[in-house]
């Protein structure tokens, strides 16, 4: 409707109207005086959520969280990264419980522009698929505080793995070597435990190599292994099909079986992105042999800064589905969101966040 009115008005009033709007825009620009933001070493935010769940037994509760991520130069070629999150949960009929998640804590050394070495807890995230990542080898047991089933939130909240990593980069590719030692500890759910027992239950290694073959093709090939397990090979590849569509494929293979995740993301000119992903797994990691993941994200839906996100994950073997939806609006520092999730039961989450 808005479009028809504007087209009719433009046809009637024509160039005079355009000149008037151009003049108004230039006058706004004349008055603009925003200064560039300065880079900060640390970004902190706080979040509070009210949760209402009904899975046959209604219950409600809440959560308050604080998240900090710092990344700065320590000295010369040395850099330090620290990322930590604290969640305090409470609910009807239960005592409050806190969970601290040490997400990352590592130092990085760069002797020259093509070699980087790191040591500490690092969140090494591999893979190109949106929801299921067969080549994201360090994801197991990494989420300490489950606050959402949204794949993006799960990636945000997960712990890194204690490891040493060396990466060399050249103009058309890179090679990464990782060794993550076994830590003699069991998973520990006490509030402030770094929980290395969860992320470093076995020693593991990874080699990842990416090379640009053509202008638009730079696949990554990986090989990983863990004590007591045979090695797995993996492949990540993406391709632009046209101005609005990206295709991706992620595949991993080992003695335990194949895993695959492949999909398409299409974006309309109205800022609506749609993803359809097919997931296949023989290793038991996915929780089903096959799943289909459909995802939609729409920015500025009628109102500027209002974003809508929804996804469905469908298991064809038993016709079960998980549905998650979110409406989110933000100002410069604060944001509000309403989330709805339907699995075995339904739950609502209302949350507010503030970036300092």
């Amino acid at each position: 409707m808005r479009f028809i009115v504007i087209v009719l008005a433009a046809a009637v009033c024509g160039p005079a109207l355009a000149q008037e709007s151009d003049e108004a825009a230039l006058a706004l620009a004349d008055r603009t005086s925003t200064a560039p933001a300065v880079a900060r070493a640390c970004i902190e935010y706080a979040e509070a959520a009210a949760i209402d769940t009904d899975d046959g037994m209604p219950k409600n509760g809440g959560r308050a969280s604080f998240d900090v991520r710092c990344d700065g130069v320590l000295a010369g070629s040395w850099r330090g990264v620290l990322s930590d999150r604290f969640d305090e949960f409470w609910g009807h009929g239960m005592s409050a419980a806190g969970v601290n998640t040490l997400k990352e804590a590592y130092v990085s050394y760069r002797p020259n522009r093509s070699i980087i070495a790191d040591i500490g807890r690092i969140n090494l995230r591999e893979g190109v698929a949106l929801a299921y990542n067969p080549t994201d080898y360090f994801k197991a047991n990494a989420v300490r505080s489950l606050i959402s089933i949204d794949p993006e939130t799960l990636r945000d909240e997960r712990m890194g793995t204690l490891m040493g990593r060396v990466q060399t980069l050249w103009a058309s590719g890179s090679m990464t070597g990782v060794f993550a030692p076994r830590v003699n500890a069991r998973p520990n759910d006490s509030t402030f435990s770094p929980d290395f027992g969860a992320t470093n239950g076995a020693s593991r290694w990874l080699l990842a190599w990416s090379q640009r073959w053509f202008a638009d093709l730079q696949p990554q090939i990986s090989l990983t292994g863990a004590e007591g397990e045979s090695p797995r090979a993996g492949l990540d590849v993406t391709r632009l099909l046209n101005n609005a569509t990206v295709a991706y494929l992620e595949w991993s293979d080992g003695r335990r079986g194949n895993s695959l995740s492949t999909g398409l993301t299409y974006t309309t000119s109205l800022k609506l992105s749609l993803t359809l992903e097919y997931e296949y797994d023989e290793t038991g990691e996915l929780g089903a042999r096959q799943k289909v993941f459909a995802y939609a994200h729409w920015d500025d839906v009628g109102i500027a800064r209002l974003g809508l996100t929804t996804f469905v994950r469908f298991d064809p073997s038993n016709q079960s589905r998980v549905v998650w939806s979110e409406a989110r609006y933000h100002w410069e520092h604060a944001g509000v969101a309403l989330q709805w999730q339907h699995n075995s039961g339904a739950s609502w989450v209302a949350l507010i966040d503030y970036y300092f």
Partner: protein, 271 residues
């Protein structure tokens, strides 16, 4: 098998040669061809004013308005380098603010674009259509050589009012998309005749809708040339949606090729 391959190659070449664009180019009268070449040269000259030829960095503040009210302001650091082999720019965009966006990165390497979020350590391949910043698409923020991604198909003379409301004697160039990396189907670009400065652009979609109008203004000496340090973008459908892109902190920068790939994104820190 070899015969089949040969037939396929010959057949594909035949299809390409028979395509309308190819036929039109071959059959074009010489004066028309010369006019097009001249228009393309003007386009390239205006590119050279917008974009430094050596690797550089700069800051961009994007201020977005709706109905005269300021909505958002984003600061980006841009690192850009001309790829001699392809003739297009390779650009790394780093979000400096607001805090909600700080640390995020966009890499554009020809048609290859990646979005990186340090919170999740995730790199996601995106398409040129996937706009991230209000009205200004990533195609506006990254450095683009129009002469590389587009072809000037016509030129005429026209006097227009520039971003400072001063009348300028301009070439009006009719420009069409010529590569998959082109964000727009068609552009009308006004270039001042005496200086070859870009003055104004109108950008159209596949369906011939006016997507945006841009005014290039606040020319000042940066990296050895008088360059526009502000672009005012007016939404084509709703002209009360306005984005002001203001450039500052220009500097020559040594940008290694190894930075301009997905695997470097988790490593990147603004310098």
């Amino acid at each position: 098998m070899r015969t089949l391959t040969l037939l396929a190659v010959v057949g594909l070449w035949g299809l390409w040669a028979a395509a309308p664009g190819f036929a039109a180019e071959s059959a074009m009268p010489q004066p028309q061809n010369q006019a097009r070449n001249q228009a393309q040269e003007i386009l390239a000259a205006s590119d050279a004013i917008r974009n430094p030829g050596k690797p550089f960095s700069m800051s961009v503040v994007l201020t977005e308005y709706r109905n005269s009210q300021q909505l958002d302001s984003n600061t980006l650091a841009i690192y850009s380098k001309l790829d001699a082999a392809s003739g297009s720019y390779r650009t790394l965009v780093s979000y400096m603010g607001p805090p909600r966006e700080a640390g995020k990165l966009v890499l554009e390497n020809g048609t290859e674009m990646w979005f990186y979020d340090p919170a999740s350590a995730a790199s996601i391949r995106i398409s040129p259509q996937q706009r991230l910043l209000g009205q200004a698409s990533t195609g506006d923020v990254v450095t683009v050589n129009f002469a590389h991604d587009y072809r000037a198909v016509g030129s005429s003379a026209e006097d227009i009012s520039d971003g400072d409301r001063i009348m300028r004697h301009c070439h009006k160039l009719d420009v069409e998309a010529a590569s998959a990396a082109a964000t727009y189907r068609r552009i009308e670009l006004w270039v001042e005749q005496s200086t070859e400065r870009p003055v104004k652009g109108k950008f159209y979609s596949e369906s011939e809708h006016l997507l945006k109008t841009a005014y290039y203004r606040r020319f000042q000496t940066e990296l050895g040339l008088e360059r526009p340090t502000e672009v005012v973008i007016i939404d084509g459908l709703t002209p009360s949606w306005v984005t002001v892109m203001r450039y500052s902190n220009y500097a020559w920068r040594d940008i290694p090729d190894s930075w301009l790939q997905r695997d470097y994104l988790p490593r990147f820190r603004p310098e």
